[in-house]
């Protein structure tokens, strides 16, 4: 499978396929379908310093080829995570990414410093969650705040940091540049698009938070464009995601410049997707005589 080996900063992934945060739990939930070690990497459910119960009311709403979610970062907190889940995640032979959110800088910093004591491979700095009131996406909407938080985290973190960007920001590629300038090792994009649904029968918004995050095949064309723009704008690795549901989609993102790709919502309708994409990419390389998948990276 060396055709798929992909270096992300200093980590050598066996392939560029990563399970996206919030769609793959802590790596164990799909193991009846395939061994999660076949994946290049796994990003944990978004963690925050303190436990969060998540949002009330309806959390999921299907849209045409898309999914609105308003989970609200339900998670046990970083401490419970390092105590209960990290060893299980570490037992999976795959790059271990911890997705880290927060309500304010202090929370991010404290979370990151706890993680310094554990053998994880990457921090994915989530400054793009549209489903929490304070913080979250707010940091990801402006170049200066995104750059600021990146710099502060980089100052204290022993782990490489990939910043997860919001497609709701004015210009994703400008934010990416700002993250790069402030020391980000990589960026991942996109998180979900802010969307909305109305329950016309009951005359009210479907979600108690009013807005929610849109993911899935519906957003793929926009996500792909943003990944393409960002890959042209920065020199650090870009991890691309948004609506990927097949190995062909993955190839599109890699051609657009992504070093690795993540699969999120695609796992839901097809619990075998991760494995299928790894196999599909392998076969694609074979069929096209590629020694390594990187040969098509950014060719568009």
């Amino acid at each position: 499978m060396s055709r798929l080996v992909t270096k992300l900063v200093d980590y050598e992934m066996k392939n560029p396929v990563i399970a996206a945060s919030g769609t793959y739990g802590y790596g164990e939930d799909y193991k009846d379908y395939y061994d999660p070690s076949v994946l290049g990497g796994i990003s944990s459910k978004g963690l925050t310093l303190n436990p969060k119960p998540g949002n009330n009311g309806i959390r999921l709403w299907e849209t045409p080829s898309g999914l609105l979610n308003s989970i609200g970062l339900e998670n046990p907190g970083v401490k419970a995570f390092v105590e209960n889940s990290i060893s299980k995640m570490k037992a999976i032979d795959s790059m271990l990414i911890v997705n880290l959110g927060g309500d304010n800088l202090e929370e991010y910093l404290e979370g990151a410093s706890i993680l310094n004591g554990y053998p994880i491979d990457f921090i994915e700095l989530n400054i793009s969650c549209p489903n929490v009131k304070a913080g979250g996406m707010a940091f990801g909407m402006q170049c200066d705040s995104a750059g600021f938080i990146t710099r502060e985290i980089k100052k204290i973190s022993k782990h490489p940091v990939m910043v997860k960007l919001s497609p709701n920001a004015p210009s994703v590629s400008d934010i990416a540049i700002s993250c790069q300038e402030n020391g980000a090792d990589a960026v991942s994009l996109v998180n979900t698009f802010q969307g909305m649904a109305i329950d016309i029968r009951n005359k009210r918004a479907v979600f108690s938070n009013m807005y929610a995050g849109l993911s899935g095949p519906a957003i793929k064309p926009i996500a792909l464009r943003m990944v393409h723009q960002t890959a042209k704008a920065v020199s650090i690795p870009v991890v691309g995601l948004g609506g990927i549901s097949s190995w062909q989609d993955a190839v599109e993102f890699i051609m657009a410049g992504a070093t690795a790709i993540q699969i999120g919502t695609g796992n839901f309708p097809n619990p075998n997707l991760g494995k299928e994409i790894v196999e599909g990419l392998e076969k694609y390389c074979e069929d096209n005589g590629l020694k390594n998948i990187s040969e098509i990276r950014g060719i568009i």
């Binding site: 739990g25 959390r59 045409p64």
Partner: protein, 235 residues
């Protein structure tokens, strides 16, 4: 992938789909079902109406896009089944078990009643089924070796003999399950309820189906869909 053996219209928007899926499942579990390729995006959680070793069946009601597609499928067509998922109803030690189903919430009770009887032929099983309108759905329960009480219209929970109910297993609208729970309190029955939440993954990965319980958040698809009444109706 399972093949449809029969997809029978029972009237009032309800259908019984029998597939050749032989996979073992427990009463109260469900499958994530899809009878289509890419659209709609998500699979649909549907309880196991029956599993007999050779076939798995589903009793479902057409309410939207997904169930509409299912209802139009015919013998020989393929349906994708991911599962079985969830905990299912526990095995009941008590001699008497009362099952209360409202509307399409009756679906998991057939398999449940059947299994309880199989495990203990002496078990005293009462099945209350409440439907809004007449249909052939109730007929599908006739073959059960149990006392089956069927009502059309009104609240099925008004007809239950709570005093002699034994353990109660219930599935249906939340308001109905809550009524059963409240009304059985004086008799200290153990009550198990099967919760319904929108689901994306079915495997516990997305936290979209979280159910607030007295013991904290639980995933309806994984730690549920069956909870003890007191766990969920605690507020």
């Amino acid at each position: 992938m399972a093949v449809i053996i029969e997809n029978k219209n029972l009237g009032d928007g309800m259908y019984l789909m029998k597939t050749d899926c032989t996979k073992k499942s427990s009463p109260g579990q469900f499958y994530m079902v899809r009878g289509w390729d890419k659209y709609p995006l998500l699979s649909r959680p549907i309880s196991i109406f029956d599993w007999d070793g050779m076939t798995t069946s589903f009793l479902y009601r057409v309410v939207g896009e997904g169930t509409e597609i299912l209802s139009k499928m015919t013998k020989g067509m393929e349906v994708v089944l991911h599962g079985p998922y969830g905990n299912g109803f526990p095995d009941i030690k008590e001699d008497t078990v009362t099952l209360i189903g409202g509307g399409i919430g009756t679906a998991p009770l057939y398999h449940t009643a059947k299994e309880l009887k199989k495990r203990d032929p002496n078990k005293n099983i009462k099945l209350y089924l409440g439907f809004e309108n007449k249909s052939d759905a109730a007929k599908e329960f006739e073959s059960l070796d149990a006392e089956v009480i069927v009502r059309y219209g009104g609240y099925i929970t008004d007809f239950v003999d709570y005093e002699n109910a034994g353990t109660i297993l219930t599935c249906g609208p939340e308001i109905m399950m809550k009524a059963a729970f409240e009304r059985s309190k004086p008799y200290e029955s153990k009550v198990y309820v099967s919760m319904e939440k929108r689901m994306a993954c079915g495997v516990g990965a997305c936290l979209g189906c979280t159910c607030k319980t007295e013991g904290g958040n639980k995933r309806t698809c994984k730690e549920g869909p069956v909870f003890e009444g007191g766990e969920v109706f605690f507020e």
